[in-house]
């Protein structure tokens, strides 16, 4: 009972916090310099791990897919499956999970450290709204960086799939490209990018909230970073599932 009450309180505080972030994000001042700096830092941090994560996925889809499609004599169709799987599911999910793991944790840790060491108070005394200065730039950066990364993972995922399908799998290059371009629609691309932005939004918000509400010491900073990663990844996977179901249901 007590626990339930506390969860509800946290949820209420989170809602208030989101309202505050939303208001700050649409009214001046927005600290663009800080936002660009963060985008740069976060993109650099994510680019290698996210590439390393998506490349094997494209490869595995091709490897497994060839075996299965062969059963039906339809291995020429492999690329249409690969394209949909990468563009709609794996690329956004992997890009977002990696942003959660790298960007989310570093945002939460940075804000948490600033809080614990009195720098958030120092900002406030200098008439700088901490939500505007440290939270909003993080949220904007995640919202932009996550879809940008997914563009990269789209390309890499397809490329590694192509490597295992065409040169190594013996599928004709022309057929691969034909089925790929016939299957992937702009909607696939936009849905993937949209998902990433939404996940990035969630990551930035949760990281900001947990960072600002950190406990008192160094260990609590670690906990804030950790909790950010775990809660956002769980959230991403659940929401991703729900969205995919809904979109399929809507015939998209």
């Amino acid at each position: 009972m007590d626990k339930l009450l506390r969860s509800l309180q946290t949820l209420g505080a989170l809602v208030v916090f989101i309202g505050q972030v939303a208001r700050s994000a649409v009214t001046p001042p927005i600290y663009w310099g800080e936002t660009l700096r963060l985008m740069n830092v976060l993109a650099k941090r994510c680019i290698v791990p996210v590439s390393l994560a998506v490349a094997p996925v494209g490869a595995v889809i091709s490897l497994q897919g060839i075996e299965i499609f062969k059963l039906f004599g339809a291995e020429r169709m492999l690329s249409s499956f690969l394209g949909t799987a990468i563009f709609r599911e794996y690329s956004p999910a992997l890009a977002s999970v990696m942003v959660a793991a790298q960007a989310g944790s570093s945002i939460a840790a940075r804000i948490g450290t600033m809080k614990v060491r009195g720098q958030i108070d120092a900002l406030a005394v200098m008439s700088v709204d901490p939500v505007r200065y440290v939270v909003v730039p993080g949220v904007i950066a995640c919202v932009i960086v996550a879809p940008l990364l997914s563009v990269l993972t789209n390309i890499l995922g397809i490329f590694s799939g192509w490597v295992f399908a065409v040169p190594l799998g013996g599928i004709d290059h022309g057929a691969f490209m034909e089925h790929l371009t016939a299957q992937i629609t702009p909607a696939d691309l936009w849905i993937g990018l949209g998902k990433c932005s939404v996940f990035g939004l969630g990551i930035g918000l949760i990281a900001g909230y947990l960072g600002l509400n950190v406990g008192k010491g160094a260990a609590d900073v670690g906990k804030a970073a950790n909790d950010t990663v775990v809660s956002t990844i769980v959230l991403i996977l659940l929401v991703d599932y729900a969205v995919s179901m809904a979109l399929l249901g809507a015939g998209l």
């Binding site: 060491r117 720098q119 108070d121 120092a122 008439s127 709204d129």
Partner: protein
């Protein structure tokens, strides 16, 4: 900066019956005082009596349980940071303050230079060249010019303190709050800082509220002296008068006696 003009007779700071407790720990118990504009007030008091808490109440980082905290006539304690309108007012008031935190609170992902330039870049329309000149001047004045491009983690404790002081006075605030500016400094540096405070006070008319354990500093710079002990203001007034009265707690402080009204618990 388009600030509204405040009548000259409005004091910089008035505390009126300010009380603050943390749970059962009563830290401030009905503190009332007035600090005039353009004066230098030094607050003394044993460790852990609530001097830092008092400063935090002045800028609205802590809310007193009771009492009013008037800054240029506006009650900071009545402003609720969660409400957008109050926050705006609070932030407008805070622009009149510069604050040296007891532990510096420098931004550790910025260089010394950027730390001091930070308030200028945010709150003034100074050109980058003008900022450069002023930051360099201020850093030179506190003896850390050579460390401009270092990060706070690469500085000594005393250097961090001096950089934090430079940041506190960066945009020539009306009121400078200094939480133990001289602790951790050698006597020469400490005296240099005192002289800088006196000069800023003389040339720009800044009001200083300084927390200190250093009785020599208090004698040198203070117009007004106060002493906080056990949550109460045991003495407060013009420096000469306070020195003449020589309250037992103050005397104990000055003579470093272990026996007296100030108890080590």
């Amino acid at each position: 900066m388009g600030e509204k003009v405040i009548p000259a007779d409005v004091p910089a700071v008035v505390l009126d019956g300010v009380s603050k407790s943390f749970g059962t720990n009563t830290v401030l118990d009905g503190v009332s005082l007035t600090i005039d504009r353009g004066s230098i007030a030094v607050m003394l008091g044993p460790s852990g009596t609530g001097k830092s808490v008092l400063l935090r109440c002045l800028v609205g980082l802590l809310k007193p349980d009771k009492g009013r905290v008037l800054v240029f006539g506006e009650d900071v304690a009545a402003l609720d940071e969660k409400k957008a309108r109050d926050r705006k007012k609070l932030f407008a008031l805070r622009r009149r303050f510069g604050m040296l935190f007891q532990d510096g609170a420098l931004f550790d992902d910025m260089t010394v230079f950027d730390n001091v330039a930070f308030p200028m870049r945010l709150h003034t329309d100074m050109s980058e060249a003008a900022i450069r000149e002023k930051v360099s001047d201020r850093l030179a004045r506190v003896g850390v010019a050579h460390a401009e491009q270092k990060f706070p983690a690469e500085l000594s404790g005393g250097m961090r303190k001096r950089v934090a002081f430079a940041r506190a006075i960066a945009i020539d605030p009306d009121i400078v709050l200094c939480d133990e500016p001289s602790s951790g400094l050698d006597p020469v540096m400490s005296a240099t800082l005192d002289e800088l405070i006196l000069e800023l006070h003389r040339t720009l008319g800044m009001t200083f509220i300084i927390i200190s354990h250093d009785t020599a500093e208090a004698r040198k710079v203070a117009d007004t002296i106060g002493m906080l002990a056990n949550g109460k203001l045991v003495t407060f007034g013009p420096a000469q008068q306070v020195f003449a009265e020589n309250h037992p707690a103050l005397e104990q402080f000055f003579t470093r006696a272990t026996v007296g009204p100030i108890k080590v618990v």
